[in-house]
Structures are given as structure tokens and as C-alpha cells.
């Protein structure tokens, strides 16, 4: 059970919300939007690897 992934995702979330606030204060709404999107994509890539591992393990355990 690797908690490092969880910490990484939470860290990315906090970092992005802080950067978002800074960019909004500076009046760069579009960059803030793109930053949010980039963060979501990065986290999604990490989560997809986990899900793939889960599905492979389930396939091998339950004999699909």
C-alpha cells in the first residue's frame, strides 16, 4: 500500500489551488484555467496507472 501516490496527488491539488489564487489575483484568468486543466490531466495519468493495476489484479484473482 503506497501512500506516496496519495500524498503526491494531494500535494498537486494544494499547489494548484495556491497557484490558481496567485494567477487570479494577477488577473490572468485564462492561465489559471489552463493550469487547472493541466493539474487534472497530470493527476488523471497517475490515477489511470493505479486503475490499470487494479483491473489487472482483479482479472488475475477472479479468473476473467
Amino acid at each position: 500500500m503506497d501512500i506516496n501516490v496519495i500524498f503526491r496527488i494531494a500535494g498537486i491539488g494544494i499547489l494548484i489551488s495556491v497557484l490558481n489564487m496567485v494567477l487570479k489575483q494577477a488577473g490572468k484568468e485564462e492561465q489559471a484555467q489552463m493550469l487547472t486543466l493541466a493539474g487534472v490531466v497530470i493527476v488523471l495519468l497517475m490515477v489511470i496507472q493505479l486503475i490499470q493495476r487494479l483491473f489487472d489484479d482483479i482479472r488475475s484473482v477472479f479468473g476473467f
Partner: protein, 127 residues
């Protein structure tokens, strides 16, 4: 990996979710999925042990192995459908959750129906 590490893991995830959910709900959903995935992967080891016990019991009782593998597959589908539906519910998409549950039910029914048909054939042969 005992029960206490699962408990601690989930408590840590809950605290992190509380921090993130206000600012970035979309990353909170991804965090939920990651936590659920890690938890399931580490629980699967125990599930595999339990299934092994069932298999040895079935072999002792001379149950046909094809039925046992069918049941195990159905349990797997139920497990995955519950996983997906719960994540959708957590994200607030109850409609998607009920659709996943419906798909799971239909797949389980379609896998179970041949067994039911076989049972009916046996009954018809007897009478």
C-alpha cells in the same frame, strides 16, 4: 499489512480530502479513486487467499469447477460494480452510479442464466 494500516491510510486520505475538496473538487474525486484503487489492490491479496480456501473446499466436495469459476467471476463483477458505483456516488453523480449498478446486474444475470437453464433441463428430465 494489518487492519490498522488500512484504517490509518483511510484516515489520512480523509483529512487530505477535506483540505482539497473546497478548492479543487475535481482533484478530490481523483484522490478518492486513487485511494480506493490502492485499498482494493491491497485487499485483493486477502480475497485471493479466501478464494483458494473455497476452491479446495469445492474440490473436496466434488463440485464441478466450472460452476465455482462462474461464481467467482460473478463475485468479481459485483466487486468492481460496487467500486465504480461508490466512486460515482461520492462524486455526486448518482445517475451514473445507478447505471453502473444496472450494467453489473445485467452482466451477472447473463452469466447466471445458463446455470438456471441447466437446472431447468435437469428438472424436466426427472419429471
Amino acid at each position: 499489512m494489518g487492519f490498522f494500516s488500512f484504517l490509518g491510510f483511510m484516515l489520512v486520505v480523509t483529512v487530505l480530502l477535506l483540505i482539497i475538496r473546497k478548492e479543487r473538487p475535481e482533484i478530490a474525486v481523483l484522490l478518492t479513486i486513487a485511494a480506493a484503487g490502492i485499498m482494493m489492490v491491497s485487499l485483493l491479496k486477502y480475497v485471493a487467499d479466501i478464494l483458494l480456501v473455497f476452491e479446495t473446499m469445492a474440490r473436496k466436495a466434488n463440485v464441478q469447477t466450472e460452476y465455482l469459476t462462474l461464481i467467482i467471476r460473478i463475485v468479481g463483477i459485483a466487486y468492481l460494480a460496487g467500486f465504480g458505483a461508490q466512486i460515482c456516488k461520492d462524486a455526486g453523480e448518482t445517475g451514473m452510479a445507478s447505471k453502473i449498478e444496472l450494467a453489473g446486474k445485467i452482466f451477472i444475470l447473463s452469466m447466471g442464466i445458463p446455470v438456471m437453464a441447466g437446472l431447468l433441463d435437469i428438472i424436466l428430465k426427472v419429471f
